[in-house]
Subunit: 260 residues, 2 copies
Amino acid sequence: MLRRLLALALLATASGARPVLLRTATDDASAAVSSGAAQSDALFCDSWMLSVETGNAGPWISVPTRCLDSVHSYMEGDRYASDSDVVALDSIAFAAQALATAQEGNAKPAWVFDIDETLLCNDPYYAANLSRLQNFNETSFDEWVDEAKAPALSSSLKLYNELLDLGFHIILLTGRSEFQRNATEVNLKFAGYHSWEKLILRQTSDIGKPAVQYKSERRAAMEAEGFKILGNSGDQWSDLLGSPMATRSFKLPNPMYFIS
Amino acid sequence: MLRRLLALALLATASGARPVLLRTATDDASAAVSSGAAQSDALFCDSWMLSVETGNAGPWISVPTRCLDSVHSYMEGDRYASDSDVVALDSIAFAAQALATAQEGNAKPAWVFDIDETLLCNDPYYAANLSRLQNFNETSFDEWVDEAKAPALSSSLKLYNELLDLGFHIILLTGRSEFQRNATEVNLKFAGYHSWEKLILRQTSDIGKPAVQYKSERRAAMEAEGFKILGNSGDQWSDLLGSPMATRSFKLPNPMYFIS
């Protein structure tokens, strides 16, 4: 169950509701652009995607209508692959160095990965019907999860293999629910991920928790178990922020949806 | 004095030294790209610039040689202006809402701005000689500061005026040094910034402090004086991170240099 949003928690029910469609701040703001040269959709949407990646956009509900084509082009073209490649390269450059300097004590060096849009790529699901970017359908998405056919994000697969070779303990921490464990494991293996220390999914007691809270609690538990979380890879800031944080956090691109 | 790097503080002297040129992790990483289609410089450099904006790149010393043209094109073309516009629009959308909900108690609503590449734009200095992007010359940069002719980043000027209209207390917090106060004030007024609550520059006792420490200490002092820092705008993550943080922080683009 992929919980979308809402920082405006009032709009979220306890069980991972389908979000209410609202005008986003960015929609409001873009409508207000008046000075200077009129921005083309492509130019505006490139800037909007950057604002999503830096977190400047804050909570947002759905891809602005004028940006649907840009997001689709981004995901299908060279940029998504290239941007993801550079994240993986940054991650590896850090990992090798961090491991060399983190060998004091008995802490087990760990790397935490999110799954959707981090290890696995759901672009085929969204690309098949762009309206899914604006009207999230939990039933339909859960059916896609059950198919267990999401491909790997290839740069993340390469990173995962390099981290395994370096001796990292790989911990998968996903917003998916426990009932999706089997489909998730099947999909991970289908995509080329063959081993991990733990696969942590939302339990019944986690329902309704914002992702930052749920994931921070689980990172705290990892530390209590003796893991030293050197790196954390996720496509949402809510995968990465909160206490405790990894020594370094790596934000993978995702202009398709926002999870609070 | 614009202090460049280094998170590797060992390489920085106490007085804001000119950084040692090193191969950056990104240079190493880009050299290691071997799988898949060879990335063109333009594609790689777009991804590198994104990695800088998200913080994925970590500490870096200078623009990779293969990206000098891309950075120059970015700064001189439509994207820098557009990206900055969207940051300002995100900021305003938040500011109006935050002010409406933050009126409890007697805290004075404040917005903190960095100066270089936030309120003022030093692109004319760097564009005049691209080698300045790779070989920072403090003497030459200080002469540019003394000229006091840096233009406003126009989107930030618009944001500044809107925040003043909304009743925010504007606090300027810069890595420039106290001896540059007069030139800085002259330049701010030249660029259209006419009033502020405080202009905080580095004192002698701040020399050698990483920007995160210096700026966090000053934000803590603002809170102790009764300001509630709702927003913070800066082009470096070191303007924004550290405790206390603003309610929302806004990262302006800067692919030209990194300050730890």
